[in-house]
């Protein structure tokens, strides 16, 4: 297990750079793509079966880490609610000149609404920026794990992984 993860519960950027589930900088600039933060060998593999493009491979042993084929992945985000660890995100650094789009799994109530201003929160729970809810997907097949797309400052695309609703925005 990654030392940081087992001590603090937080994956560092250095850890993630070694993840087989993380796309290249180049690919993230091109458009939405899955960003898989699963770095511990646990017996779990639904992500590889849900992907309609066959872009995620866990392999024969169910405890192997998911490997992302960044060319096959079109960033549809269907793997996000299927992951019981809530460890998959979508990143689109080509969203606009100054903003990136980050898709995060969300299982809290109330659900946010599109257009709402929120605090973008990092892996340690720190509010790092103001973000905007762009859209929310919560169909029945997601089974109560909503997928929330946030517009965040581009340089924080790999930091924001959660959000909290700002006061007065509820």
């Amino acid at each position: 297990m990654r030392e940081s993860l087992s001590k603090t519960g937080v994956l560092t950027k250095e850890d993630l750079a070694q993840s087989p589930g993380v796309p290249s900088e180049e690919r993230m600039e091109k458009g939405p793509v899955a960003y898989i933060e699963c770095m511990e060998e646990i017996p779990c593999d639904p992500c590889q079966y849900v992907c309609p493009k066959g872009a995620i491979t866990v392999g024969k042993q169910i405890i192997e880490l998911p490997v992302l084929d960044e060319q096959k992945c079109d960033g549809c985000g269907i793997c996000i609610p299927i992951c019981p660890g809530l460890a998959i995100f979508v990143v689109d650094k080509g969203y606009s000149d100054r903003e990136a789009l980050v898709g995060v799994p969300y299982e809290m109530l109330p659900l946010p609404k599109a257009g709402m201003k929120v605090h973008g929160v990092d892996r340690e729970g720190k509010a790092v920026c103001e973000a905007r809810v762009v859209k929310l997907l919560n169909p029945k097949k997601f089974d109560r794990t909503a997928l929330v797309y946030l517009a965040v400052p581009k340089e924080l695309a790999l930091d924001v992984r959660h959000f909290t609703v700002m006061e007065g925005e509820e």
């Binding site: 087992s6 603090t8 937080v10 646990i42 779990c44 729970g125």
Partner: protein
């Protein structure tokens, strides 16, 4: 006296799976549980499960219990809820049960004890104050009865139970001020830890609760840092204002019925303490009495379901409903799936523990 071929005590994932497997093969099966709803702990597992398709991966535990019950009923299993099994007699052939106000006996050719586990307590000054409770109890209150035990919570233990219940308390609207873990590392899955970290919950490894204090109920928790040997460091205390302290320091097999009927036990710390010795087919040292799920060693619900299936298959074979060859094939498939779950950093210790247990019998 109720007569049945196969009596299953406990309608959790192991008991339901065993009843289903046996019922499907044609075995006359009676499934009993002291709760009002079947599913065991599944009834409060609102999170999505890990695993493979065969293990209901990505389905929420609450839904798995319902589906297993429907399948079991379709397979002809008779289900008796609100039924306490309080005794086992005649070398494991007769169960004494209490159904409502009525005491009855069940005579069975084969019996499965799938009674699950109980939470370990942790004693410290103030631990008897109202507001100190098991994490599992808090989970029951929140997810089943929809009652928050408190609004500011300290979670003691960073195994999967502590991490998951901390997350579910957040979902229910409580504030979790910290998770403390006496060991130097987090015991549960990293992804569960990451989930609560990004929601702002600190996880303090190498820390434990030293004292709970307050007037008539918990108002404060004192947490202390531990040195490399696990001894409290003087002056390294911190106070948290909390109204609730949840204890998640492991589980142990709930094995009274196995003790009563004379099963041999072994002490296997990896599996939660004293565990009934059993063979690969899940039969204990008392012929015809089986154990499956947490009572046979603390593991995940996915393993409990597989152990239930192993029992169901063996019972069906013994009673002549399936051939030895068919049973062997089914057992091979189930064993292969269990092997897969018991690999990796989390599975190795469990596998070793189980091997020790089975060796002792052989």
């Amino acid at each position: 006296m109720i007569e049945t071929e196969f009596a299953v005590v406990g309608a959790g994932p192991a008991g339901l799976s065993a009843a289903l497997e046996a019922g499907r093969a044609g075995v006359q099966t009676l499934l009993m549980d002291d709760n009002q709803a079947p599913g065991g702990q599944l009834v409060k597992q609102i999170h999505k499960f890990f695993g493979s398709k065969e293990h209901w991966a990505s389905e929420r535990g609450i839904d798995i219990g319902d589906k297993l019950l429907v399948q079991a009923q379709k397979a002809g299993v008779r289900v008796m809820l609100d039924t306490v099994v309080w005794g086992i007699f005649n070398g494991g052939k007769i169960l004494a049960i209490k159904q409502g106000d009525r005491n009855r006996q069940v005579l069975a050719q084969k019996i499965l004890l799938a009674t699950g586990a109980s939470e370990n307590p942790l004693a410290f000054p103030g631990w008897t104050l109202p507001g100190v409770l098991g994490a599992g109890a808090a989970q029951t209150l929140v997810n089943l009865h929809r009652v928050l035990p408190g609004t500011r919570v300290l979670m003691v233990g960073a195994g999967n139970v502590g991490l998951i219940v901390a997350y579910q308390l957040l979902q229910a609207g409580a504030r979790v001020v910290a998770v403390v873990e006496a060991l130097p590392t987090i015991g549960g899955y990293g992804v569960h830890a990451s989930k609560i970290r990004r929601m702002g919950v600190p996880i303090l490894t190498g820390h434990t609760v030293k004292e709970a204090s307050g007037n008539a109920e918990v108002e404060r928790a004192t947490v202390v840092r531990l040195d490399d040997r696990g001894a409290p460091l003087p002056g390294a205390e911190r106070e948290f204002e909390v109204d609730t302290i949840c204890i998640a320091v492991g589980l142990h097999p709930l094995a009274e019925l196995a003790w009563i009927c004379g099963c041999q036990f072994a002490y296997i710390p990896e599996l939660g303490g004293h565990v009934p010795v059993h063979a690969e087919n899940m039969e204990t040292t008392v012929p015809g009495v089986y154990v499956a799920g947490d009572v046979a060693g603390i593991e995940e619900a996915t393993v409990a379901m597989e152990e239930g299936r192993l029992t169901g298959v063996d019972v069906a074979r013994c009673l002549g409903y399936i051939s030895d060859r068919r049973a062997e094939t089914l057992r091979g498939e189930i064993q292969a799936r269990i092997e897969l779950i018991r690999t990796g950093p989390f599975g190795d210790a469990l596998k070793e523990g189980k091997e020790k247990l089975i060796e002792r019998r052989g």
